[in-house]
């Protein structure tokens, strides 16, 4: 894995954004050649804080993505399992996920794969853990009874199939989960740990998230920052890439 440690939330966000941008540009997407970006699922559709509103306001309205290229799991579908199976098919049809970007819960979960989720699970209906319900209560005026108790989620196995995985972890409350994810063993109680067995993972975090890690681990990866920063500098643009492609840059790997 690559562990990228930045000073704070803003810097971590910026590094991650630049990395994703470079990955998309270097992939060279075009008609019929999709850069499939995977993201974890969220709240049900008809809530004002719904995932659709969140994604629209924070992502889609700022870019020129065609609406037919957006696939969001529909929590209101009549047959939820069929919805999940269809989602897996859509991923295959798009050529598989090129890059999956996700966060980590305080209980170490990736997407809604709560502790105890199978590490080879696929997209399915999940009952949410109390921790997750409590964390989501802020979207429902703090009223626990209004928080949905089930969600559709991509599975750990689904994410493992992605060609690359990027996990964003910021804040001291995530520090223990990060420790469990990268310094302890692979364990279904901390589902993010599954990515120790993925060939291409990037963890981007801030200083606070490293609070439970060994000093040795932190120093080691901070020492690699000179090399890791080559992934975000220079920042490529789609226009330039036309000319650069002839120089065939090999993508950096560890």
């Amino acid at each position: 894995m690559k562990l990228i440690i930045l000073e704070n939330y803003s810097q971590a966000s910026e590094w991650a954004a630049k990395y994703i941008r470079n990955r998309i540009v270097q992939f060279g997407p075009g008609p019929g050649r999709f850069f499939t970006l995977g993201l974890p699922t969220g709240l049900p559709r008809d809530h004002p804080e719904s995932y659709h509103s969140f994604m629209w306001n924070n992502f889609f309205k700022h870019i020129d993505i065609a609406p037919e290229n957006v696939h969001i799991l529909d929590g209101n579908a009549p047959d939820l399992q069929a919805e999940c199976d269809a989602f897996e098919e859509k991923i295959k049809a798009a050529g598989g996920i090129e890059l999956f970007v996700g966060g980590i819960g305080p209980d170490g979960h990736i997407a809604f794969n709560e502790p105890g989720s199978s590490l080879v699970s696929r997209t399915r209906v999940k009952t949410l853990a109390m921790d997750t319900i409590l964390a989501n209560a802020r979207f429902f005026d703090g009223d626990l009874s209004k928080v949905p108790t089930m969600a559709l989620t991509v599975g750990v196995g689904t994410v493992m199939d992605a060609r690359e995985v990027m996990i964003l972890i910021t804040g001291a409350h995530k520090a223990f989960a990060l420790y469990k994810a990268i310094e302890d063993g692979v364990n279904h109680m901390w589902t993010v740990s599954a990515f120790q067995q993925h060939p291409n993972t990037v963890f981007v975090c801030d200083e606070d998230a490293t609070l439970e890690l060994k000093v040795k681990t932190v120093k080691y990866f901070k020492g690699l920052m000179l090399v890791h920063n080559k992934l975000v500098e220079p920042l490529y643009s789609m226009k330039e890439m036309g000319a650069e492609r002839s120089q065939s840059k090999k993508p950096y790997s560890d």
Partner: protein, 409 residues
């Protein structure tokens, strides 16, 4: 990008690189328009899987809902209180010219006139949508003749009337028809005004208090019977007195029925109201302030003599007086000038100043679900302003109907 919209095939225009007035704030958001209405881009994206057909770069303009002028007596040589043969073309001219002031909807106003004028003029006014031909007409504002002699201002005394004999029937006989009437200004201290106010309110006509010597309790009673507006606050009414605030006291009265709001018109041309008085009113009741021009025929013309109904008025700069007197009679300020002056005099936010000319008049007339805001599904009547609040372009139903040309004309 293919647009396979499922609801409608009409072209969708996306106005980008702008700041729009929404939820009482200027936000950096794009404005989406389809079929003359503001479109919700999120629903378009997820439900219809659609996208815009045309993107227009607004060069960082401010986009605000179009201004609504609920008191305008004429302009550009046209006087709405004069029953001329070419009245219709007169109203068309004014509605077209005020587009450059940012007005997208208005209420042509008639001052106190003899019944013959009302009978001839009112049938020629029709409620109609705006467009390239001009601003939309929301209905007439009849200011008088049921007003107080002591506060007639520029209104001709010989045309003043009362309705103490037949109440509402007297009013109907005077006006002839109320079909296209939207607002009536009257003096509530007149006998039987309560009945009249109730009848008018029942018919959806907004009753405004003005040109009156009513005290606060008379004004409050009028509000309880349905009055919701005050015509040009401070002008043509008793001055504020600390033991009887008169009509001005409605701004902070505790006798307003629950759920109702009293609105008040302000002519913020710098002449009708001292800026300090403007600030007092604004601070006392900011949500009720409605900017009006009270513009007269001379607005847009060179200084000199013009008519205002049965009277002759003289224009000198921004001042307009009854010829030979110091009695103010309407104004020649344009709506956008009033907005700018209001913002400067009160130091309020740009959003507040813009809402006083758009949202508040729409709320007064109960049409804020389709006018006065940039909310989804509202009519796409809006303006592009520069940072100094000068109108750069006017749009009605999503179509550009006026544009500031390069020479600044």
């Amino acid at each position: 990008m293919p647009s396979n919209k499922s609801v409608s095939d009409a072209p969708i225009v996306q106005f980008t690189n702008c700041r729009i007035l929404r939820d009482h704030q200027l936000q950096r958001e794009d404005l989406w328009v389809r079929e003359g209405k503001i479109l919700n881009p999120e629903k378009l994206f997820f439900d219809e899987k659609g996208s815009s057909d045309v993107q227009l770069d607004c060069k960082d303009s401010i986009i605000t809902p179009g201004f609504i002028d609920v008191q305008i007596n004429g302009g550009f040589g046209v006087d709405f209180s004069l029953a001329t043969d070419d009245f219709k073309s007169g109203i068309d001219l004014v509605s077209q010219k005020i587009l450059s002031h940012g007005v997208t909807s208005f209420c042509p106003t008639l001052v106190t006139s003899p019944p013959s004028v009302y009978h001839q003029v009112l049938p020629q006014i029709s409620v109609r949508n705006g467009g390239a031909h001009g601003a939309g007409i929301l209905g007439a504002h009849l200011e008088g003749p049921f007003i107080s002699k002591e506060k007639k201002g520029a209104h001709p005394e010989h045309c003043l009337r009362t309705f103490e004999t037949g109440a509402f029937q007297d009013l109907l006989a005077t006006y002839g028809s109320l079909d296209c009437v939207r607002i009536v200004t009257l003096a509530p201290e007149m006998r039987r005004s309560s009945e009249v106010i109730q009848e008018l309110t029942k018919r959806g006509i907004c009753v405004s208090l003005g040109h009156s010597v009513a005290n606060l309790s008379q004004a409050e009673e009028a509000v309880q019977h349905g009055a919701t507006f005050i015509t040009h606050l401070f002008n043509a009414m008793l001055p504020f007195h600390h033991r009887d605030p008169g009509i001005v006291g409605l701004l902070t009265s505790d006798k307003i029925p629950a759920g109702r709001r009293v609105f008040y018109g302000m002519i913020s041309d710098g002449i009708h109201t001292n800026p300090a008085a403007l600030r007092i009113a604004h601070r006392a009741h900011p949500k009720g302030l409605v900017l009006v021009t009270d513009a007269i025929a001379g607005m847009g013309l060179a200084p000199g003599r013009h008519t205002l109904g049965q009277q002759v008025v003289e224009i000198d700069g921004l001042n307009t007086y009854i010829a030979g007197t110091k009695t103010l009679s309407g104004s020649v300020a344009t709506m956008d000038t009033c907005v700018r002056h209001f913002q400067e005099a009160t130091g309020c936010s740009v959003e507040t100043a813009l809402e006083a000319a758009s949202l508040h008049p729409a709320q007064l007339l109960g049409i804020e679900h389709k006018k006065g805001t940039l909310n989804y599904d509202s009519d796409a009547d809006f303006l592009m302003l520069n940072d100094s609040l000068y109108v750069q372009a006017t749009y009605i139903a999503g179509e550009e109907v006026w544009q500031q040309d390069a020479s600044g004309m």
